[in-house]
Symmetry: D2
Subunit: 246 residues, 4 copies
């Protein structure tokens, strides 16, 4: 494990966030962020008890003061280390609702959590990533988790799609601005249900085995993105179960 670098995963719950934290913890100390310790504490313990190093910080990605305070903590906790990778995995404002039953609060919740939070997270992490260019084996990397709703507006997904389209807009804009400065910015379109504890009850793809995305598999591709040579950065890739219609 490199002693010079660390990683941050925000939206570190039981699915993709947890798997990313575990995957990146094989190489770096990891900061797990979520609104409440309930989300990250088990994973923090799991990492620390298996030879890795992790800390958890409670923060609301979309709240300026909360992010200011969280990154002050990180500065202290990770003193002397540079930021190798940051993963934005917050999901917010999800809800399938007919448009005329969708409240402006639903719209606000989606845009706030899905895009404003990513904006603030990027504002906090980008200076740290720029500072890490050339410091580690791999180019510093900022990855955002996207969804089908990031590339396709659908009936009853007006709120969700608004926030996810905006998140993708940010990811593209940042890639074009910071790629030439050596920071790798990527966006992953997760097209399908993820196999997490709370989705156990949902039957997808007729219940076929591997009909939901394994969060560990997603994390493995995120790690691959992080390791890509700077002459061959991927900005966007999709991921879906082999049986998913698309």
């Amino acid at each position: 494990m490199s002693s010079k670098l660390f990683a941050i995963v925000i939206g570190a719950g039981t699915g993709t966030g947890r798997s990313c934290a575990l995957r990146f913890a094989k190489a770096y100390p990891v900061v797990l962020m979520a609104r409440t310790p309930t989300s990250y504490q088990d994973t923090v313990n799991e990492i620390n008890s298996s030879g890795g190093k992790a800390i958890g910080i409670s923060a609301d990605a979309a709240d300026v003061a909360s992010m200011d305070s969280a990154f002050e903590s990180i500065k202290t906790d990770m003193a002397g280390l540079r930021l190798a990778a940051a993963v934005y995995n917050v999901s917010a404002g999800y809800g399938v609702k007919a448009f005329l039953e969708t409240k402006v609060e639903d719209f606000d919740a989606s845009v706030t959590g899905n895009a404003r939070g990513f904006f603030l997270f990027a504002q906090k992490t980008m200076p740290l990533l720029l500072d890490a260019v050339g410091a580690g084996q791999y180019p510093p990397t900022l990855i955002a988790t996207g969804a089908t709703a990031a590339v396709r507006g659908s009936a009853k997904f007006s709120a969700m799609a608004s926030g996810m389209f905006a998140r993708r807009a940010l990811s593209q804009s940042l890639a074009r601005e910071f790629g030439p400065q050596g920071v790798h910015v990527a966006h992953a379109i997760i097209d399908g249900g993820i196999d997490v504890p709370r989705s156990k009850g949902y039957v997808m793809n007729n219940g076929v085995v591997d009909g939901k995305l394994s969060p560990d598999a997603i994390a493995e591709s995120y790690w691959h993105l992080h390791t890509q040579h700077r002459s061959a950065f991927t900005q966007e890739l999709d991921m879906r179960p082999f049986v998913e219609k698309f």
Copy 2:
């Protein structure tokens, strides 16, 4: 002119909004909306003095109370008429800024004006458009003005692109939900500078004649969208000067 129908154009300033109001006023009474009368008053006068019928209403598209109040007025002013067409042409939060100099207020301004306003405008107009299905010669139509930044995130456009991507997300979602109910929802990607009074000083495409989009030409295509047969709805089209690189 049909006496049973009317149209609304919001973001009715000196460019596309004004041209749309003039174009749709050839067929319908038109409500022009903008934050201040300065934006719409000249156009309202121009329409009324040349045989058309227009009223102006001051409103902030992104403000719930303001929209509530504006649509109460419209209900009274246009009593007995149904809504044939609504155009969302608000532009907000424009600004080319390096990401690390972009404030969260810039992000908020773009998302609020470019997307939240469209959300609220659609919430107000969609019930009226649904109520007009079958009432006029053409299917009721909701058109949103988009931009290159709606399909492409660019360096220094992080705030702008976030709002415009979200606007496009809404347009697609609404098209898929309300098309089958007979309402035509379309999104126009305006790819280039528009030839408006305030852009006179900007040299675009080396100053070649017609190197900026004529707002009247844009309005003509919006009118065409409105007249499309319901068996052949266009959801999205691009428009750019013949000399524009793309």
Copy 3:
């Protein structure tokens, strides 16, 4: 009717081609092209007997010698006139087939008719269109009819999609090369079944009225594309029935 200009529609059968010929014949003499007179003769007669002017020419768009000969005829038949608009509406190699049952001949037929024919048609018409810049009221226009299979490869559509993707590639390439020279090149994504005599038996969208595209409606949008001001060219638009899933 302008006496200085003419139009060409290739793939002039009973659907979109016929409707385009009729629509453009309101303004220009029209050349209808198809492989056999059976396809175009009735429409030619219909135009000529109702005050318009039309001729039919038999040609295979994808065959060099056939196109050479056809355009020699056109040169004579339309002597003194310039080419205002050309529509490529050939459809070829259609067939929904499992990939492993698809023959290389199916692939060749699709690519040949859907793309090679458009390549040859554009090679013949582009010099004529360039020669017409500034000659008529509207910018000279080359329109290609596309399909869902031009933007989406689907199971069992490998041959069809190959040809239609290539057609779209050509349209984009030509738009970018010849737009700045004043020629408008556009591509229409027709997403749905067209209401033509031979599709009468196919139930689409549960048989709902207007669940298939009216070819007259398509032609009306093609005409609109032709009339667009050069400061606001559309390169691509989609068209589908209001009830079509997309």
Copy 4:
């Protein structure tokens, strides 16, 4: 190295093809295919002399008889092994040419090498890949190398884009048809110049270090695609140098 599986790379020259062969040879015996032994012989020797196993077969991907014969050889040479991965890396008909100077032969060359060859290669390899489902550690994989010209038609790229769009159409169609059967089909958009011997003289991105794609980096991502879990298949990803404008 697995003794039950093998891989095929066609278009095995000095760049991406060579790097893929070397990368996949770490895990599998590899068949290198190209039109002439000059293209693949050095790489075959390099693999065999460093502990791997490789054979070279001369074949023209776009020629039916040549492919029939080549795959008869493969059947014998790789008797008892199943096909783990196949990479289509042929590039053909490249040439930046003004449209009116482009010959139909240029169009044919691009479509033939870029798409027809992939069609035939997929017809030959897909039955073998289907037969390998479940046989190895990773899902059997078919990867096609794409380019910017696969997603964007540009001035002077009419021939090139036609073939590359068609190749992408095939890749999508095959992914949608064979993904549910367990075969992973992916398309990589290589957006930039590749750092190969014959491009040494071309200055790209102002000559900045890593301004051309490392073919080894591309191969590393192809290998990652091959190893993806079937619950998280990537259909498409882009790759470009960090300094590339896009």
